[in-house]
Symmetry: D2
Subunit: 424 residues, 4 copies
Amino acid sequence: MILDKNRIAEFNGLHASAHKRKFDFLASEINNVEDVLQKLIDFQVAIPSWALGTGGTRFGRFAGAGEPGSLEQKLEDVGLLHALNQSSGAISLHIPWDIPENYASIKAQAAQLGLQFDAVNSNTFQDQKDQELSYKFGSLQHVNKAVRKQAIEHNIDVIKHGVELGSKSLTVWLSDGSCFPGQLNFRKAFQNTLESLQEIYATLPEDWKVFVEYKAFEPNFYSMTVGDWGQSLLYANKLGPKAYTLVDLGHHLPNANIEQIVSLLLMEGKLAGFHFNDSKYGDDDLTVGSIKPYQLFLIFNELVEGMDARAMDHATDLGWMIDASHNVKDPLEDLLQSVEAIMLAYAQALTVDRKKLNAAQEANDVVAAQEILQNTFRTDLRPLVAEARLRSGAALYPLQFFRDQQLRAELIKERGTKTIATGL
Amino acid sequence: MILDKNRIAEFNGLHASAHKRKFDFLASEINNVEDVLQKLIDFQVAIPSWALGTGGTRFGRFAGAGEPGSLEQKLEDVGLLHALNQSSGAISLHIPWDIPENYASIKAQAAQLGLQFDAVNSNTFQDQKDQELSYKFGSLQHVNKAVRKQAIEHNIDVIKHGVELGSKSLTVWLSDGSCFPGQLNFRKAFQNTLESLQEIYATLPEDWKVFVEYKAFEPNFYSMTVGDWGQSLLYANKLGPKAYTLVDLGHHLPNANIEQIVSLLLMEGKLAGFHFNDSKYGDDDLTVGSIKPYQLFLIFNELVEGMDARAMDHATDLGWMIDASHNVKDPLEDLLQSVEAIMLAYAQALTVDRKKLNAAQEANDVVAAQEILQNTFRTDLRPLVAEARLRSGAALYPLQFFRDQQLRAELIKERGTKTIATGL
Amino acid sequence: MILDKNRIAEFNGLHASAHKRKFDFLASEINNVEDVLQKLIDFQVAIPSWALGTGGTRFGRFAGAGEPGSLEQKLEDVGLLHALNQSSGAISLHIPWDIPENYASIKAQAAQLGLQFDAVNSNTFQDQKDQELSYKFGSLQHVNKAVRKQAIEHNIDVIKHGVELGSKSLTVWLSDGSCFPGQLNFRKAFQNTLESLQEIYATLPEDWKVFVEYKAFEPNFYSMTVGDWGQSLLYANKLGPKAYTLVDLGHHLPNANIEQIVSLLLMEGKLAGFHFNDSKYGDDDLTVGSIKPYQLFLIFNELVEGMDARAMDHATDLGWMIDASHNVKDPLEDLLQSVEAIMLAYAQALTVDRKKLNAAQEANDVVAAQEILQNTFRTDLRPLVAEARLRSGAALYPLQFFRDQQLRAELIKERGTKTIATGL
Amino acid sequence: MILDKNRIAEFNGLHASAHKRKFDFLASEINNVEDVLQKLIDFQVAIPSWALGTGGTRFGRFAGAGEPGSLEQKLEDVGLLHALNQSSGAISLHIPWDIPENYASIKAQAAQLGLQFDAVNSNTFQDQKDQELSYKFGSLQHVNKAVRKQAIEHNIDVIKHGVELGSKSLTVWLSDGSCFPGQLNFRKAFQNTLESLQEIYATLPEDWKVFVEYKAFEPNFYSMTVGDWGQSLLYANKLGPKAYTLVDLGHHLPNANIEQIVSLLLMEGKLAGFHFNDSKYGDDDLTVGSIKPYQLFLIFNELVEGMDARAMDHATDLGWMIDASHNVKDPLEDLLQSVEAIMLAYAQALTVDRKKLNAAQEANDVVAAQEILQNTFRTDLRPLVAEARLRSGAALYPLQFFRDQQLRAELIKERGTKTIATGL
């Protein structure tokens, strides 16, 4: 399904005056509103190809209807999201779930939909049919060099697919680790993993980056071989200037201060970017901003502060991606909610009065510092985000549009009720 | 495969004298050693039918070979475990994964293997093929009465299977809950669940119990409708005298003091029993005693103290079951390790000097109280547990026997390498 | 210091028109705005007498200046807060830190300041000078009956003080518990505590309530004898209709779903009320709403829903109190921030569209349910709260007023820089 | 009090034959028993000067009797511990709580007691009387250079004291951090701290080390400026070869895998050593081994493996210190329990069959790897530790000796019941 732009224009027309009233009211209170709007327009969040179907847990999976059954249909879905919000102009492919059969036609389709190919993702946490050696006991860490070799080759293969599509980065998430004390020699597991990453790194094209993602636990339940930001940074530093640390919000121990980690990784010039989601207990992969929206704002607050301190380009110097699972929601609706939460947090961070905040910090005026952040967070910036959408040709209210226009029903009509998207 | 008893006798013969030396040395230091041995011999831990195959996570599953492909083979496996340790004399069936086709033949097989049928388990956390209504949004809590009805009927059906087999209890674990704030009205979810449980309770045979299991999170990631022992106890109290609270070690928030919960549930006469496993992060379902063996001992310490205070029969008044997943181990080896850890913790609890402990508590002598528990825990009681096995005809060292005799190889020969057991 | 009302009027005059513009804009979007405003006006949060001085940790305490040095000055401080926001019309005394020497004069002072006496609090977690027996090993749980007796007498004494002042409830927070495995017999500790509470309960005046507060850990680091809501509810149910469970937001294990607990306690008719604060790691006692404002809203959402379902009076049927520590902030500024956060969360909960939420829940429309809550939370309701203040004679912006008018400087002038308030 | 060696000899005489029987039985099962015994004899754990008095929490402190009232008496206490176990041959001083007035006499006393001076500890988490600038908002991180300067000077001063006494390392634990979002600019706080540490580092004598201790939370409750091992390692790497990361067992987020951290820090050549204690919830500072003894063993397992892999000297190449608080126990008894737990865990680690473990790891034989560690842990090695004590002239059973001989009563007689030791 390709969305006719007139439908959006018509929808926006219906809501234009009410929106204008709210936006004007808000705009009068914000400095540099045009600058903020431009940054919001430029900001794009990649959609992972595996997030377009209903997810599941180890206990079960309750599939939805009208899910994409092919890579082409996944692109269509991201294209639809992008048409609705003009903030989802990239797709992140997962190999081997989404191996393109014809690069040229896939690239043409993406171009038509206004989509870039974001980081490509390798998968060595599952065994694929006809795979020679098993990853049951790890991949890049494996005690058996042949298994490591197989996993290295797979990653190199993923890079090749990415090169064909125009991606510029490889994300390596390893489930490698151990379930029981004694299972692993931690040091050797680290060193094997490092060596394997070095072989992959050596094949990276000149203008590519590699993102080393960390995770505290699951699916290994005693140790993870890239378990926290400290470990990931060790790898990234040993690998070289093209290696970075990727932060997934759900991959931390309880109560971790993620915003501080972000700030320090930016300070070190080693932040790769983000996998956005939200969680209450573990790697729950819930909709972004659905549980701890203030934390999300605090993270964006550090991102904006730290990127500006290094004169980085918000839209292009880091990788932004959603990585969530939608067990009880329509995936597209969930993704619209996630992107909205991200844009809102970004807008909040952009409108923090940094001069005042800095002055409060220099004066140890804790009360004022808190007030500055809270005042920003309590301000209703939804009209600002909607205005950015309006100006870029998106729907003022993407989720409402999706529902009003019954787009899922259209997709079901096209695809049927029994398709199941690849992914977790 | 039915194990020839002579193989065990022969094995024990090889190790008898070394064992005797250790046991005699130990026995001289323990009071009432005969009484303790008898209790160890009597103590039986049920094996769940779903734990006989290799488990998995949402990220993948790496199956093993020689897994049981039918209910009969599952009984065989438990029979094998029981032959090896004489402590696994019960099986806990999970419906619909293990619906018996012929009660009489299954019962005959169980009798031959010396196995009882422990609690039967219902499953409303997955949709089964051809199931009319979905449990995507819960089962006993569901806003739609028809869904609740279907789930109630399923539980009643499970009871019927249990009655045929000679089970005496139903375990209800509900994944019911919500993934997002707002999704549920907590009160109504509780009340719907209570009503549903009441309908099930009403059909319980006279001499049956129902066990209400709680879990803090997963697969629902915002709220669970039976989320902690307090909630479970509310249900159990409202249901009546046949309802009890079941404790699964992995179903708690981080750092919970489980031994205190056990003590209070015993005080209230509402402890159903246990699902044993171990964990570091969440419901990791690791081998019992593999992560926090001292906690396991402390739990058994409360169990023995509390059961004795109520003059309960250790072996029969509570339900004991393993509930673990074996993602990187041979399931039978893992279960042998789990049972060993349970027996050891039980032996430790039986040999605590309660008179001295009580005196230390009454004197607020914290140092002495700690010493008493630690001294017991630091004492090597493995020869005691082995002696209990020896006397009951089991192998002195079950895991070693399993490996020495290459029993898995025999099973693979019988069953092939591609069988996959039903379960998680 | 007694604040001249003209100063507030003058301040409000300066900000009136800007406020009006914002309020009018907001009011047009809210149903029943007058009803909501009245509820906001009626809602009062008690200030604990120990929260008026700078707090500390076990590592140190960095006192502020101008702190109240007597009970009279503490009342003055609460009176000042109440004059500023008209939402802090009650003080909660802590015995023995604040034993009134002359009831009549204290009551007269309170009346003049418009203050009620909220719950009185006992203290058996510290030894007082000249105290006969020590609480080192607990108070109401103590193995020694004489110690329990002393603690019971203290609680009865606290009730007597409360009766004289017009309080209607006793809050019992016990630090009782243990630091090491073996130290306590959990069951006996529970039973001793229950018996002690029963003796206290028996002396409660007809129209009094007793609030049993729970806490997961600290200052005891292995077990707490009233450790969670389940335990507290056990006590409350065994005590009788005048006993209730008190929730302190910081007293839970990591990731606990507090809003669900609130809902269930309301369902059971056993919720006493709240100790408000915020936290990231443990009982951090941070400013309300400073870390997890969305959680605070979700809790109020359950409170409003649950109180309305039972036709309870929001302002009077439950106890509302702040219980925070101010280690790096001016205590009065911190309390103003806390009350503001509470009022805002309450306003949010009052403006949730319950009919729509209920419909979404009944339809399992998870996306819509989340949208409804998030839309409310994202709406900027500060003008509504300010309007409620304006109408009740308080300052539109209490914190700004406190700072603009340099009220702390006035207090320092009156009291000096070296006064240290009693408390933690 | 100086302990007469004959008392120990006499005590050991009484228990010699029973001990010999146990030790001989055990020794026959252990390889290289003499080598293990020598390592146990050589291993010394430093006692911090602040751990000799009863500790407390922010809620209160229940002092004991006979506590040391001066530095001389603290040395006496450590001397007493060392006489009892010959494993506590070092004291770690905390400045300014323990400023020596006369180096020569203190050194002479220490020499007489057989004590070394371990790492010296600075304190910038409290304000001292007559201190010019406050550490309320941090010390080495402070936005005000003058405060940083003061804190730097204090650390340099501490080094000077250490040089006089023969210490070879400085431990820097910073409570620096923030309590509220916005309070700190994380990057600037890091950079200020780094600069401050660099100034301190520049004054380190040639043969000194500096230990940078990290802590996840408390007393700051939003962020800590040296919050985890990753941050500490960043500092240590930027400082240079004399800087190391110090691990305190209680300073982690819930569920952290500390043994993996230890392994990686050893791999990097950056592990300073340990502050031993135990905990269930946070930095509970409980007796070593009282809550998670298996974790303690796993940590020592990594230490031995990692030190051997780098050919390090177990006894001298890392710093070993207890850092616990004794709120409900006699401090000396508690310390004896802690040292015993440490020695036992070390003995366990020394007797792991590394060759077999390595083979199991190389074969991904998870079951065998677990068995090897558990078998070691389940073996009762107390006679081995006792034998090491016997050979070094210590008491076979130090705690029992302390109690039998009523040493605390002797100390009370000397010092009275009202002395309170400095410390937390």
